[in-house]
């Protein structure tokens, strides 16, 4: 097994993520239950979208206490590749693996639309030259309004940790932020769903390049440079 897709009670994009990685990209992937430990052969982790623990308390606030999160944290510390999508992004923020928090959309409603996003020149793996400057990726969330203290925001921006920005901001996120990475460049988080933009019948197939960029170290271990910031 190469890509571990975490499954919490209430996860609901776990199947979609597995389908995109396994069936579309042809990379070995499996869903791993939150009470298990991370398989030793894990080379990358996707924390999928959904409503882990029913979004009780705050989105992602309970999932961060799940047994598997201990392994996820040490995997991250060792430089392992982790991508949090939607609720997965919220979980990684709650777990302290990514900075900031995601609060209620400023329109106070859930939004499911095909969203235009701009790719930011973040590092060797994630930049407009590789991914294209503008992508269409679905969003589907009620709490996607990214917030960060201004000092930390300055740091995030100056480190080029922003990956994606919304065109026509749907949720009030600060600086139109739709996706970020950690300083080291091994933990990604984004509200848009790249796994929903991989098939010919999807609104675009732009998600493929995002997933490939994330999985680059697994696909092509020799060419990886951690943190190019």
């Amino acid at each position: 097994m190469k890509v571990a897709i975490l499954q919490f009670p209430g996860s609901n994009c776990d199947w979609d993520a597995e389908h995109a990685v396994k069936d579309v990209l042809g990379i070995n992937a499996a869903r791993i239950w939150h009470k298990s430990s991370l398989p030793s052969e894990t080379e990358a982790i996707i924390v999928p979208g959904g409503f882990s623990f029913g979004d009780y308390l705050r989105c992602g606030a309970i999932a961060r206490f799940s047994p598997i999160m201990k392994d996820v944290k040490s995997f991250a510390e060792k430089g392992g590749q982790i991508l949090g999508i939607c609720n997965g992004f919220q979980i990684l923020c709650e777990a302290g693996l990514l900075p900031g928090a995601l609060i209620r959309n400023d329109c106070l409603e859930f939004r499911c639309v095909n969203q235009k996003v701009k790719v930011v020149d973040s590092n060797d793996r994630f930049n407009p030259a590789k991914l294209g400057s503008e992508l269409v990726i679905p969003i589907a969330h009620g709490e996607g309004n990214y917030r960060l203290k201004s000092a930390e925001l300055d740091k995030l921006e100056s480190n080029n940790q922003v990956l994606l920005r919304y065109d026509d901001n749907p949720n009030g996120s600060i600086n139109d932020i739709a996706g970020i990475r950690n300083e080291q460049g091994n933990v990604y988080g984004m509200m848009p769903h790249p796994e929903r933009a991989v098939e010919s019948y999807h609104p675009s197939t732009d998600g493929i390049s995002i997933l490939k960029s994330f999985l680059e170290p697994v696909l092509n271990p020799s060419s990886v440079e951690l943190s190019a910031s």
Binding site: F51, E109, A140
Partner: protein
Amino acid sequence: MTENIVRPLPLNPDPLLNVEITTELVAQHGLLPEEYETILKILGRVPNLTELGIFSVMWSEHCAYKNTRKLLRLFPTEKKDKDAIGQVLVKAGEENAGVIDVGEGWGVAFKIESHNHPSAIEPFEGAATGVGGIVRDIFTMGARPVLLTNSLRFGSLESAQVKRLFRGVVSGISHYGNCLGIPNMGGDVYFDDCYEGNPLVNALCAGILKHEEIQRGAATGVGNPVYYVGPGTGRDGLGGASFASRELTEESAADRPAVQKGDPFMEKLLLEACLEMMAIPGLVVGIQDMGAAGLTCSTCETASRGNSGIEIDLDLVPQRETGMNSYEIMLSESQERMLVIVQKGREREIEEVFEKWDLHAAHVGEVKNGDRMVVKHKGVVVADLPAKSLTDEAPIYDQPASEPAHVTAARDWRVDSIPELSPDSVESSLLKLLAHPTIASKRWVWQQYDHMVMSGCTVEPGSDAGVVHLSIAGIDKRLAISNDCNNRFCYLDPYKGAQIAFAECMRNLACSGAKALAVTDNLNFANPNKPEAYFMLKECVKGLADACTFFDVPVVGGNVSLYNEHGEGAIDPTPVISMVGLIEKAERVTRSFVEQSGQSIILLGGLPNELGGSYFLQTKYGKKEGTCPEVDFSEEKKIQDFLIHSIDSGLVEAAHDLAEGGLLVAVSEMLFEKPNLGIDLSVDSLGNSNRLDALLFGESQGRVLISVSDDKLDELLVLAGEKSLPAIVLGSINESGRLKFSLSGNEILDSNVAQLHRIWSDAIPRKMNQN
């Protein structure tokens, strides 16, 4: 009758329940004196209060279809053509939902159900639990739910109260369905004064399963353990089924405890745990959702279907409140619970699955010999009833029917009573129609629904039918879904109105490239004890049954919601029709939007020529009147067959059904995805009505607009000629951004498409943002 049956039951452990069963108590339980007499005969003794409660919910309209059972027998429940795709695997009424074959060993379970009364009182929870209930019906069958839709009806959006209901219902559906992770493909929403105070909330779910995975809701195998799974039972939703079988009154707000509170997270866990459990070969004997009438309904229905007895002990039922008595536990409608009968000796297997998902799996009883449903509480038998008496012996009524005066008047209506439309009023009439919330864009609604989860969304809401790819089943097939019912036609002519709902639904599927397989219907009507209301119900059912028979599209399940009245008014008859269709090949998926120039718009079916019941009469003159448009099923079939054939042959770029608002509205809608496009429509004559309003805004049936590439136009017209199908080329798509219309060479409309689009797309958000 044995002596054992007539012996009185011991006293209930809760003294409050040991009361004399008086006439008043019987009436409070919604049972008629003659119904109570029947109960006495069945039991051979006086029931105790718990038993009376059990009878009242099982014999309510909601569970027993007392007033409709006879009528529902008119529906065909299987296909006549035994070679066609879509054979019925589980028929209407047999189980929690019907199942049809979709080929290659796969089946689709689907059903629609109403949650009207709860939503009127508590819109958010009422609508949310409506979604929860129908989803349970589907996964109870062993199916993985793959799509949701809703049919919603509200009063006028001018009213603050209606806005509150609309917002509450949509967010309740959004909250529950999104959390479950089942794509919600939208559905339909109508706004009409008749729904003021009594909104309709009908929720549909469809799921996919292998034939051999179909589960049954039967308790069989004496000694097999009966399990209660899901969260604990509380006092919420007490007697919801009997509540749903009454008219709404001012006092209905006091019924709020009868509205259940949903927890979609619990339902998601239950869904996954149940599917995991059902995947274990041979473990599950029977499974039944605890929906309406909760534990009562699930125990007596499983026993009745299994021709068995069943015994449960309420002390073993997980409870989230203290001090609940047998009446409360049996009648509670707490959500997200199931009853499961498993093979004796395999108890650990079910328990392990539910432990994994942190849910209760409580062994509460077992399957018994005989036919009794026996309930124990604190060591005492608190109910002992023949299970079949509850499910099969409910009274059936044939009510008197009489035609309401307005139906007679509608038949005799003359179009001359409406002044001719002057050409300079065409644009303002079009603008009014596009701004009517029934016609306006519903994006405000469906962008709150996650319609893309499960990665299958192929045609998003807003087109004639939603289309979902069944990638989750690993098969290259697509399900198309459409809901329809124009209440105005059903009000003016119930028989034809129901047929129009059916034909339009099927036509919508054909426009998406899908062939209709089967129907689920939700019959929303007023109080059947009123002869005029019963007439409308009866005629709608007849019309619908005749349509199903003609097109060989059977009914595989559905729901009846009666007593939809509030204060002085009743709702218009609203038989909501939902159909599932199948699209085998990717290239056949067709949307209703034109994407580029170099195409022509063709009208199939001839120029519209009827004005009766139209939205034009409503928006221009405030009138709900007129003769319902003609229904000609042979012509309808010819058009739909032609449409599917030409889509199959790759001749059609886009297809859109002519419906509410008529021709100009339909053409506008086709342009709305790319408002930079335009078209010069031109027609030589007014058609056989000789009226401009009927031509441009009439809602004649059996009309479809298609868009065809200019290089395929001749081929299409020749094909139409061969089938002697009226096909009129209205004009070709250009990039002018103008919608023009000329009659016999005289231009009478020149509108800016972007402006029309703005009016259409802003209408609902603008109203919802006004306070």
